[in-house]
């Protein structure tokens, strides 16, 4: 019976995990900023996820679950530790409704921004801002999903997202010569 369960688990895991492969890789590459490290990260994520698949509760959010594994794996990696140590999080438990303090005007003339420019700006974001922004804008996760993936309260997701967007606008303004 255990053999049969393993086989069912493996088949189900593959069905759930492989459709997310491209997205997970893209996200991993954004986090690590390096192809080899991204591949290592994704591979380790899949190995850990399959190993721990029995602990996954059917009916709950698999995407948030596997992103959480990837992110935790990244945070304990050398690159992840370096990224989080050099950029400490500021007081992110603040009011998410508050606009990001910035003396710059709200409107950015993105018509001048090329895709490479935006990519460069995302890459410059501190990793905690980069990940929350990508999970929201690129993966189109709900706040609840992001909270599960990042293992933080929804309030933290909202404030971190707000700061990430503000930081991105600031970087873009500078790159566009407006700041």
């Amino acid at each position: 019976m255990e053999v049969f369960k393993d086989r069912v688990d493996a088949a189900t895991f593959e069905e759930l995990a492989m459709p997310l492969f491209d997205q997970l890789y893209n996200f991993a590459h954004w986090l690590t900023q390096n192809r080899d490290e991204a591949e290592d990260l994704v591979q380790e994520t899949y190995v850990k996820a399959l190993k721990g698949f029995s602990s996954f509760q059917p009916g709950t959010n698999f995407r948030a679950w596997i992103y959480r594994i990837l992110r935790n794996t990244f945070l304990t990696s050398r690159t992840g530790l370096r990224a989080t140590m050099t950029v400490p999080l500021d007081a992110e438990e603040g009011d998410a409704m508050m606009p990001v303090a910035s003396g710059n005007p709200e409107t950015i003339f993105l018509g001048r921004a090329s895709q490479e420019l935006v990519q460069g700006a995302i890459a410059e974001l501190p990793v905690h801002y980069r990940e929350v922004l990508l999970l929201c804008e690129l993966e189109e996760m709900s706040y609840q999903e992001i909270a599960e993936a990042l293992a933080v309260p929804i309030g933290t997701v909202m404030s971190r997202l707000s700061r990430a967007r503000g930081a991105l606008r600031d970087i873009l303004r500078q790159k566009l010569g407006g700041g």
Binding site: V3, M18, H29, I108, L110, E137, R165
Partner: protein, 250 residues
Amino acid sequence: MAGDEWQGKLDIYLDGELPADQMRALDDHLRGCPACAAVVLNRVQLKREVQAAGKRYAPTAEFRRKIEKSIATRPRRTFHWGWAAAAALVVILFAGALFVSREQQRLQREHIYSELADLHVSTLASSAPVDVVSSDRHTVKPWFQGRIPFTFNLPEPKDDFSLVGGRMVYLGQTPGAQLIYQVRKHQITVFIFQERALGGRLHGATSVIRKLSFNMETWSQDGLRYFVVGDAAPEDIRKLSESLKSAAKS
């Protein structure tokens, strides 16, 4: 609600995470507030830019295969069961092939034994069962010279056994010697062929067989295959066989 109050909620509004009543209220506000509408427009544009720019890295096909393989081979017990099944299949196939091979060999032997029994019967039924009629082995043996591609030794008749004569015989395409012996009222045929001419169909066979009520003994000695066939008692067949074996050694 004033525009400033809405500014902090614009992102949440655009993310579709505002409660329904606030969503409706903000919709209403945006229709009458050009400043907030401009900010919303700009943020929508930025969201789209980030979404497009975020799709930046694609995994290689090779890496995808590697992951697919690692997932597929992960459940080791399943994998081992697969190998066990494959190994069992190989064993079954091998055993099956061995069985078929042995069965074919057995059928070939049976065919030869049947043919020899038929030859024995047809010879006895013939009006001229032998081509060389002689009880003298020194007459019979030379008669085969030039007729068959080998030579053989015959025993000195003893006890109740007597040599009746001999003739050439073919088993398939193989020429050989057929000798008729008599013991009391029974006639016994001795067939001698070259072992290799039989194509290995009886390779290694040494047996006492009972075929169609005939007793038969066969063995291989010095490249020759001997068959002793007759309706005589198995003991008589064995005695004649032993004397032929002894003669072959001399």
